[in-house]
Amino acid sequence: MVTVLGLTCLLCSAILGGAYVLTKEPIDKAAAQKTNQALSQVLPPFTDVEYNEEGRYYTAKDAEKLVGYAIESTTVGFGGALSLIVGVTPDGVVYNTSVLSHSETPGLGAKCTTDQKFMSQWKGFNPAVKKLTVTKDGGDVDAITASTITSRAYALAVENALTKFNEIAGQAGNDGGQDNE
């Protein structure tokens, strides 16, 4: 009895160990590809990128010239954590945003990854000109139909990213960081 159970477990763990080793490379590759894809989507063309693990942001440079920061930002949406990556150019304007992970309701809040109208409004969003809250709250962000909570969380995540951008830009002695409050 013990032998059978022991042998089964041994064999199964051997199979899984082997499968883990075999799939590790493609899994890492897929994850890296996903990050790269998100980065190239939210930032202007760049050649070098550096990750700041402590601050959870990427600094992108094109031939030594700073082209922008990609800042990770997480807020609470309708169904759980909503993680974005927000690309900000040195002048404090949002270049583009992309969703890293979310657990919003399919067909409702999950549209934040497919709704063209909602997604495109973040392209070139200038916080100095537009107000970063949904129209329902008196701002300039058009919410996804029937998903105000997700849209609010999205706007908050962008706002947090911009706050962080001001900190980073301030530290770097960059004069691009305006006061957007």
Binding site: V4, I27, A30
Partner: protein, 201 residues
């Protein structure tokens, strides 16, 4: 003789599809059925993932069943099933990362899907490897078809699209069908239709 055998194997597969359909007749595995069928493609991939585990675990269990003592058969089966599920999880993560993210939690939950252990207990441990593979294939296909149909109906009603292709353009459809209440409603009506059709034949 050989023809007879192939006939019976064919019957095993069609039985799983219709007479022993896990979703509409046996009412097994309701949790992934209701949760993952927000669209046809999600239902289809969840069904295929379960099919993969079902065929392999049925084969492995029917092969080892004669040497497994009765007292430990459940733990042994669960270890075997969990191994295949983890294998599937690693493979999906490596080669279909987008699908892995959509189905997320429901992939590891295949371990406790009662269809898989149910087939192991009710069929695989009493039959040969080949028959068990056919049974797994039949029941797995039955599950896949049911989930795809349910996903299709919910997607048409809820999002106005078929396999992600929007046909009413811009309209949002009836949102209730994408959410949990719509899942129960659709499942109920499909079950009625399926059983009515089954009785007629």
């Amino acid at each position: 003789m050989t023809e007879d055998k192939t006939m019976s194997k064919f019957k095993l597969i069609t039985d799983g599809l219709v007479k022993n359909n896990p979703t509409f007749v046996l009412l097994l595995g309701m949790c992934p059925t209701l949760a993952t069928t927000t669209s046809a493609i999600n239902g289809l991939s969840m069904g295929l993932a379960t099919l993969f585990v079902l065929v392999l675990s049925n084969m492995a269990i029917s092969a080892i069943a004669p040497v497994v003592p009765d007292k430990v058969h459940i733990p042994v089966y669960i270890v075997v099933i969990a191994t295949f599920v983890t294998l599937l999880q690693l493979l999906m993560q490596a080669y279909t990362p987008a699908m892995y993210e959509t189905l997320g939690l429901f992939i590891p939950l295949i371990v406790v899907n009662c269809i898989v252990l149910g087939r192991a207990e009710a069929f695989a441990n009493k039959h040969g490897v080949l028959e068990s593979a056919c049974d797994g294939l039949g029941v797995g296909l039955g599950f896949t078809c049911s989930l795809t149909v349910l996903g299709l109906v919910r997607e048409i009603l809820g999002s106005g699209s078929v396999f992600g292709y929007n046909f009413i353009g811009g309209n949002d459809g009836m949102l209730a069908f994408v959410m949990a209440p719509g899942a129960f409603l659709c499942l109920g009506y499909l079950m009625v239709l399926f059983n009515k059709f089954l009785k007629k034949n």
